[in-house]
């Protein structure tokens, strides 16, 4: 079975967010980039399923410029077999989805996995777009994924519950907790990752459908109003009369 796992290169979760002086772009200076935490669930589960089947391949795809390669190598160190980098700046979700769908079509992958969203843009769009571009089902967001032959059983989160969905390959799924415990690369993995194939391809398609005009930071908080613990009940009065939220 051929797995394709899509990974995003995102600022480390503890990053203080700042923008370029014209507020048009994220300020990358001094920022550590990591594999999008949601995508790590997709990557690890694909590797686990391949191992359980005893055959198959896990290919990683990233749409990004050359500076994303350290994290692509990290995915190879975790256990992916090979990688494809689409050499382009990811402008919007539709552009990224077009690149992934194009690679997926050429490689005839059975299962396409990715995180439920990226922690930078938080769009949660790419999985559905890839599914629609390829004309195959999308299951999102999935909390559990098991395979039996060409049939997958997934648990999909819905508001207030979950649904069990069965689909046949090929399909797309977005992944989230508690699908698996993401793996950390070991020394052997890091050594072998250096020699695994990383193919660079040029982008295709018609381009983006959205454009960021400007980024802004949310308004600053006024500061905390402390209430003494012994008169805790006062808080409830403040929430009713001052904040007007109860």
């Amino acid at each position: 079975m051929k797995f394709l796992v899509c990974i995003s290169n995102v600022p480390d979760t503890t990053t203080k967010i700042t923008f370029t002086p014209d507020n048009k772009e994220f300020n990358k200076a001094g920022v550590q980039f990591v594999i999008n935490p949601w995508d790590e669930y997709a990557l690890t589960r694909a590797i686990e399923l391949k191992e359980a089947q005893g055959s198959g391949t896990v290919t990683v795809i990233n749409v990004g410029e050359a500076d994303t390669e350290p994290n692509i190598r990290k995915a190879l160190a975790i256990g992916a077999d090979d990688a494809i980098r689409v050499n382009a700046k990811p402008t919007d979700a539709f552009f990224v989805a077009e690149q992934i769908a194009n690679v997926a079509k050429e490689g005839a992958y059975d299962v396409i996995l990715m995180g439920r969203e990226s922690i930078d843009y938080n769009g949660s769009q790419v999985h559905g777009m890839v599914g629609e571009l390829l004309g195959i089902p999308t299951v999102a967001p999935a909390m559990k994924l098991d395979m039996s032959g060409n049939t997958a059983t997934l648990e999909r989160e819905i508001e207030g519950g979950k649904e069990i969905v069965e689909v046949n390959t090929p399909f797309v799924a977005s992944c989230q907790q508690p699908m698996c415990e993401p793996r950390i690369p070991n020394m052997r993995g890091i050594m072998t990752a250096r020699t695994k194939p990383l193919k660079v391809v040029e982008p295709v398609g018609s381009g983006a459908r959205t454009e960021v005009a400007e980024y802004a930071l949310p308004p600053k908080k006024q500061g905390v109003k402390l209430i003494p613990a012994e008169s805790a009940g006062e808080l409830i009065k403040l929430l009713r009369n001052e904040a007007k939220v109860i």
């Binding site: 769009q125 629609e132 299951v139 819905i158 508001e159 959205t210 808080l235 904040a243 939220v245 109860i246």
Partner: protein, 325 residues
């Protein structure tokens, strides 16, 4: 040209987030000088659908196909796309829910539309330029996004738009058929399992949330969180270490890799406020932090705080809420 609003229904009623979406859609229609039609998915009574007039909707379409009661991505996408074509909708508005995100992304490809999710404000329309404001960087930033396509799809973040209630206004309700076939139901769920919700309030839809962290010291003390939540008609939630330790189920985990919530009131009990947790709650309108450590980073993000022992403070708060009547 019109605005099409997707309303999600459950147990015969329109979901709260869909009332917000309907209100958003009717205000967009007003901006564009047109009317807003709704397409209903899930199960609702005709009387409840007609009430969408209170949110400014003039007409509601629904397909009586019984298999639409559960979320089926293929069928929902086809139904909404058919309604969009029927109404010649220029703008489609849906909730930024699990259903909205899944369907919205497929629809954007099918209808060749620009898509913005996580939208928190009404759009700005300036000549031909259509700009929406959305949350980005896990709530640590906002982005103004221009939707450059002729058609636009907007997924509205929960609790970011006030629902309108113009009493007495009724929408006309019409049956609509997208001529769905068995193939459209290929990804229908085999089984639906609903989880127990404390006090019956769904966390992603909740207007108020009471949340506990490691400071609660164990699952046996969760009755203190539940009592306050019940008194406030709030949902319960927890931090990542709590769900990792199986004190509480995963679906209550709020944070960067859990559920993102934006209620009017978020009460954090015994949670220190790691940046990953803050990312899931920082768009809440009012944040209350209760922690015995005065140095807990969460106090910096809070509007109100109590430095004290949660075991002592929580019963006092519950009592005070009950006294309000």
């Amino acid at each position: 040209m019109s605005v099409l609003v997707v309303v999600e229904c459950d147990n015969g009623e329109v979901k709260k987030s869909s009332l917000e979406v309907a209100s958003y859609g009717s205000q967009v229609a007003q901006l564009l000088g047109t009317t807003a039609t709704a397409i209903a998915v899930g199960v609702a009574t005709e009387a409840n659908l007609a009430q969408l007039g209170e949110q400014g909707i003039s007409k509601v379409l629904y397909d009586a196909e019984p298999r639409l009661k559960d979320f089926v991505n293929g069928a929902y996408t086809k139904l909404i796309a058919a309604a969009a074509e029927n109404e010649q909708a220029q703008v489609i508005v849906l909730a930024n829910s699990n259903i909205g995100a899944a369907v919205g992304s497929r629809l954007s490809v099918r209808l060749k539309a620009s898509l913005a999710t996580n939208v928190v404000e009404l759009p700005k329309v300036d000549g031909g330029k259509f700009t929406v404001r959305r949350g980005a960087y896990s709530g640590k930033a906002l982005a103004d996004v221009i939707l450059t396509g002729d058609r636009k799809i907007i997924a509205v973040k929960k609790n970011s738009i006030e629902a309108l209630h113009n009493a007495g206004q009724a929408a006309t309700v019409e049956q609509f058929s997208a001529q769905l076939t068995d193939a459209d139901f290929a990804d229908a769920p085999k089984q639906v399992v609903m989880q127990e919700q404390a006090g019956g309030v769904l966390l992603p839809e909740a207007d108020k949330v009471v949340s506990g962290g490691r400071g609660m010291k164990g699952p046996e003390h969760w009755n203190l969180i539940e009592d306050l939540a019940k008194a406030l008609h709030a949902a319960t939630a927890c931090s990542k270490p709590v769900s990792d330790a199986d004190w509480r189920p995963h679906h209550e985990h709020v944070g960067q890799t859990g559920i993102t919530v934006s209620p009017n009131l978020y009460i954090a009990c015994g949670i220190s406020g790691a940046i990953q947790h803050l990312a899931g709650v920082n768009s809440s309108k009012v944040i209350v932090v209760i922690n015995k450590d005065p140095e807990a980073p969460f106090f910096k993000a809070a509007d109100y705080g109590i430095v004290g022992d949660v075991f002592d403070v929580l019963p006092k708060l519950t009592q005070a809420v009950k006294e309000l009547g």
